[in-house]
């Protein structure tokens, strides 16, 4: 593949995460899917996450075959898929999160973006105020059209690295990222875990060695303020997904999401 120019300037994500790091803390990145339990409530929940202290919201695009997600996110997303939630709803959520003062970044498996049209997606996302997209099942090797479209629209693009990534793949993936790189803390799917473990720390260290300038955010497994504090000790950003979704599944609504954000936001400040 052609390696694109390494993370040019004017990245919303880079600026926001950089500002958090400058404050001596990590950024808090909250994931919530659009459409659970319904579109308006899911957007309310995202705004509540921001009010509770999230710096960035990962806005999840519902997908019928979420191969990287565990049971918690599957359960919520399945409801949204069956309700026919689509990209128009996602773009509404992007605008709402931007208006609430956080940086919106879309998290989507590749097919919904390809189906919507890659160039159209990039243009509409930029127009809605989105920073870019995280693509969990798109590796840079297959990302030619997305790299071109995100460059043209000035969007960030976040690829994943994993404990199993070779040094060569780390370097190639980091060069294709802009905004931050998503470090999957463990080998596995999304879901809360009792411990996040040392593999995440090792992966972050390898990533920093390969590219000291790119922010590294860690996802998979963080569920509370204490775990957030632990991860904040070595990462630029802490990504929390299933624990937020769990608040909604258990009926705690946007208030529960806000409370969790407050706990996590305190965590990323006591690293």
């Amino acid at each position: 593949m052609t390696v694109p120019p390494s993370h040019p300037t004017s990245s919303q994500l880079e600026e926001r995460i950089g500002a958090a790091v400058a404050e001596g803390r990590s950024a808090l990145i909250a994931y919530l899917p659009v459409g659970y339990p319904d579109v308006p409530t899911s957007i309310e929940a995202m705004v509540a996450a921001v009010e509770g202290g999230a710096d960035v919201v990962e806005i999840g695009v519902p997908y019928s075959d979420p191969g990287m997600d565990g049971p918690t996110i599957q359960e919520a997303v399945d409801v949204a898929v069956r309700a026919g939630v689509g990209m128009a709803d996602v773009l509404s959520a992007v605008s709402a999160v931007a208006a609430a003062g956080a940086v919106p970044v879309v998290m989507s498996y590749w097919n919904p973006i390809e189906r919507y049209g890659v160039d159209r997606f990039a243009a509409d996302l930029a127009a809605a105020g989105g920073a870019g997209a995280i693509t969990p099942d798109l590796v840079p090797d297959e990302a030619g059209p997305w790299i071109a479209a995100s460059d043209a629209a000035g969007l960030d693009r976040v690829f994943l690295v994993a404990p199993s990534s070779t040094d060569a793949r780390l370097a190639m993936t980091l060069a294709a990222c802009r905004g931050f790189v998503y470090a999957a803390s463990t080998m596995g799917v999304t879901g809360t875990r009792a411990t996040v473990g040392g593999t995440a720390q090792t992966l972050v260290a390898r990533t920093r060695e390969a590219d000291p300038d790119l922010a590294v955010c860690v996802g998979l497994g963080v569920s509370d303020g204490d775990q957030a504090a632990e991860v904040a000790g070595f990462a630029d950003g802490v990504i929390v997904g299933s624990a937020y979704v769990r608040q909604l599944l258990d009926g705690h609504g946007p208030a529960g999401v806000r409370a969790l954000s407050e706990d996590l936001a305190a965590g990323v400040r006591r690293r």
């Binding site: 191969g67 689509g86 990209m87 919507y116």
Partner: protein
Amino acid sequence: MTTTAPVPPPDASLTRPRPEWPDATGHFGPYGGRFVPEALIAALDELSEAYEAMRVDPVFLVEFERLHRDYTGRPSPITEVPRFAEHCGGARVLLKREDLNHTGSHKINNVLGQALLTKRIGKQRVIAETGAGQHGVATATAAALMGLDCTIYMGEEDTRRQALNVARMRLLGAEVIPVTTGSRTLKDAINEAFRDWVTNVGTTNYVFGTVAGPHPFPAMVRDFQRVIGDEARAQVLEREGRLPDAVLACVGGGSNAIGIFTAFVPDEGVRLVGLEAGGDGVETGRHASSITGGDPGVLHGARSYLLQDANGQTIESHSISAGLDYPGVGPEHSYLHDIGRAEYRPVTDSQAMEAFALLCRTEGIIPAIESAHALAGAIALGRELGPDSLLLVNLSGRGDKDVETASAWFGMAEHTAPTDDDERAVEAGRGAEPGPPLGDADDTTVQDGDAL
């Protein structure tokens, strides 16, 4: 009549020249590739490298050939079916008898190769997805033979309609996990298997059942299955002194079809015809015809034709045949379709079941319902091509597993209490109407095949 080379030993298949596709990164034109989480890339690279070394390793080739011959019973024979062919417009019909393989279908060809590969890379556990249960049974069989731990993911819906195969897998020592997410069928079983793999990739190999999924699976499974066509091409040449006019096979994911097509791809005069599951009819939206009724997108790690809605969500497929009830198709089929080298046609549940009954009654062979789709294709194509045409049909599996579904379809199950299978069979194709009495099937009631 000229005589040509005898049936080659199966191991020759792996060292033969392959089609010029896929490229080094697994692309068949715009299709294929790897659309997977980064966490799986290392395992896929490991598989690719180990497989490329294994396929030219004489020790492996000798072992693979021995298993084909002594364990599976290869080469599988060719059977001419003249009484069945009376319904095919005067065409002659030859069946490639993959139904006679150990475990009852072509699936064993692939799993023996992948089980040997598992041992070669030093992993002790295999996982697999299964729809009809044929691939699950084959994987459980190979795991038992080679002393590997085995876990099979199967949609809960499919565990009900293929209960016999669930029992077979458990007898063989495999753990069968019913999948209750999504549509509870094959596509969801594949999602669960990928989730297991990404979590346990250090100890576990994923034995993928068809020519879909991320690279290297489409090319590797093709290599393991091409023995079908390599044998059949030589067998037909030897007995007929000519190539067939058309080669027909059912297509779900498409492994038996690629298996029989590959040897014939360079033979420009031979039509390659894939029969997709048309369910209630492509026009009803209740079908599994990914190429005929779908369009390109990404599913399960590769770009290919698939059934999807305007939001890019996978649409649940419908077919009376659990093994074809899949909303995607292997990327090589998408490519062969686009370049015009193969053609794909839908066969409805009704057409498939008529062909099923016809083969039972005229030839004493109970086919898998999957394979009955290919037989229905032969009825239609034979009538198009007319007398003296020669059709080669891949009879990819036997119908023992389908006896309950067929009994329900043909209204033969009155003596037993209704089961979920009965309801499923009725629901799958007929609404409240029972199927036609089986006795009618030999009375040339076969439809004209307009939908074909």
